[in-house]
Subunit: 308 residues, 2 copies
């Protein structure tokens, strides 16, 4: 079983290491940390143990892979400035399954259009992991995956992948409707990620305790969009998200961590795509629209600052 | 003609100086800068000239005024933590007219309830003025006033006040419907003030060039509220505000200046009161609601920062 991970950051490094642990032959495409990772591999510090992940090969570009792998697993952030299809193109053969372990909603179609003949597997990671230094990944908590074929269904290659991850020690669920699962995750992400940035850096607990009503309105709008796109969520999804967040320790969202580090944020994948889906389906999403517009202003200001 | 100015900051210092210039006997209630102002008065640097404004008396509290003045002019910021009625109470006699030169919408009722027998004059200042040091006020541009009785009409004391200001060199318009004028000013304030803060410090020009659509939606909602409260604005008010803003030089809003200086912001007077009016009149104001909730989050974060 040959796997190529594209984007060997916190997510790609961690899940790649798990697949290798499970016996797959895992190579990495690694850009910024190439030198360190090519020499030493990736040191994994995890709730599952500590080990050195030594990839079969470390490449600068997907095209260097030689024989096409069984799976190409794309683990980059989803950003307008990243051409995801171009990143994987050189490694995708006629029998390669493309796997996305990425954030956001409606992020699959761009890839499906570029590779119409390939099997496409869409995946969600519920994980707290970070790249602490070049070649070092710290898996702090959680780790569950949801995987399913896009636009729907669970084929044999999804099952194989789930089994590999399970044998490495994490829960990997095969989902009949992975698109609905993306919308369900968006119910939490669409309010908390941007609100943590726009508030100037508040924890999820502070956001919830002071502006629960806005959080709920944003969540309800995501549910409305999901239903309009043919993926209705369960009626109690908002209440459950609120209750679960109340139980969490004070948490800094990934978008806030990116913002504070001056890194680009997944505003378009998480929020922009949701708003555009709402507009396309002609459901009113005024609260999401407002938060999205404010995030675009905040990004604009961040870019201006960076240029100074 | 005896006038007592309560709140001798940039606004109170400037308009008090103008009334003194016009021949009124003007005293000041001055808290933070008492020592300097009591000794030297206020130095005015203005487009109308430079002069030293020497008040008839400088008081620490309104109750020290002795004989009740003809006008008590309240020029503080409108903040939840400021009890405006208590600030002026000691100086308001049976024949005193109360004048508000303050920001916001629906800020009069609280005063009218506290002083039901007194004439109430509501006023709007279109002015760029700042307190550059204790006892120093810099009037940079504009200066027009709009004054009218609350809830409506123009009585003789409004006319007298307008004449005084006019004779001092600024335009003072007597307004039959000052409440509508407040809503008209809010059309500009409700988007640009909070957006400048939530964007992380953008100028009005940047906000308008990148998110005109959100600005328009917020403006339209203010118009809807104004109409629902019985003060319909002219149909082209949004277009005119957009066009006028486009002609302005890049401008930092007063709320942004307050925020950057760590001072409390007039979020409730400008935005909170508008949202509450919309909810009371049962008109949908989702964009304003969202921006208001985000401002409350930003304020909460600012307070937490200040406590550290």
């Amino acid at each position: 079983m040959k796997v190529l991970i594209v984007g060997a950051g916190a997510i790609g490094g961690f899940y790649g290491a798990l697949l290798a642990k499970a016996g797959a032959q895992v190579s990495l495409v690694c850009r910024s940390d190439y030198a360190v990772v090519a020499e030493c591999g990736i040191e994994i510090r995890s709730t599952l143990g500590e080990w050195q992940f030594e990839p079969a090969a470390v490449l600068r570009e997907a095209g260097e892979v030689g024989e096409s792998p069984d799976y190409v697993v794309l683990c980059t952030k989803v950003l307008p400035q990243i051409d995801r299809a171009a990143l994987i193109k050189g490694a995708v053969g006629p029998d390669t399954a493309i796997v996305l372990i990425q954030n956001g909603v409606e992020i699959e179609e761009e890839i499906a259009r570029a590779f119409p003949a390939n099997e496409l597997i869409s995946g969600l990671a519920f994980v707290c992991t970070s790249r602490t230094a070049p070649g070092q990944v710290w898996h702090q908590a959680y780790g569950n995956l949801m995987l399913g074929n896009w636009p729907s269904g669970v084929g044999p290659r999804v099952s194989v992948l789930c089994e590999l991850f399970e044998s490495a020690g994490i829960k990997a669920r095969a989902m009949e409707d992975i698109v609905a699962a993306r919308w369900r995750k968006c119910v939490w992400n669409a309010p908390f990620n941007p609100l943590s940035v726009l508030s100037g850096g508040l924890y999820t607990s502070d956001i919830l305790s002071t502006q629960e009503s806005l959080v709920r309105q944003l969540m309800e709008e995501v549910c409305t969009i999901a239903a309009a796109t043919g993926h209705p969520l369960s009626a109690d999804v908002v209440d459950r998200n609120i209750a679960d967040t109340r139980k969490m320790p004070p948490y800094k969202t990934s978008m806030l961590l990116d913002f504070e580090a001056g890194r680009p944020m997944e505003t378009e994948a998480i929020l922009g795509n949701a708003v555009r889906a709402g507009q396309r389906e002609q459901v009113p999403v005024p609260h999401l629209e407002t938060v999205y517009a404010l995030m675009k202003l905040r990004e604009y200001q961040q870019e201006q600052n960076a240029r100074r």
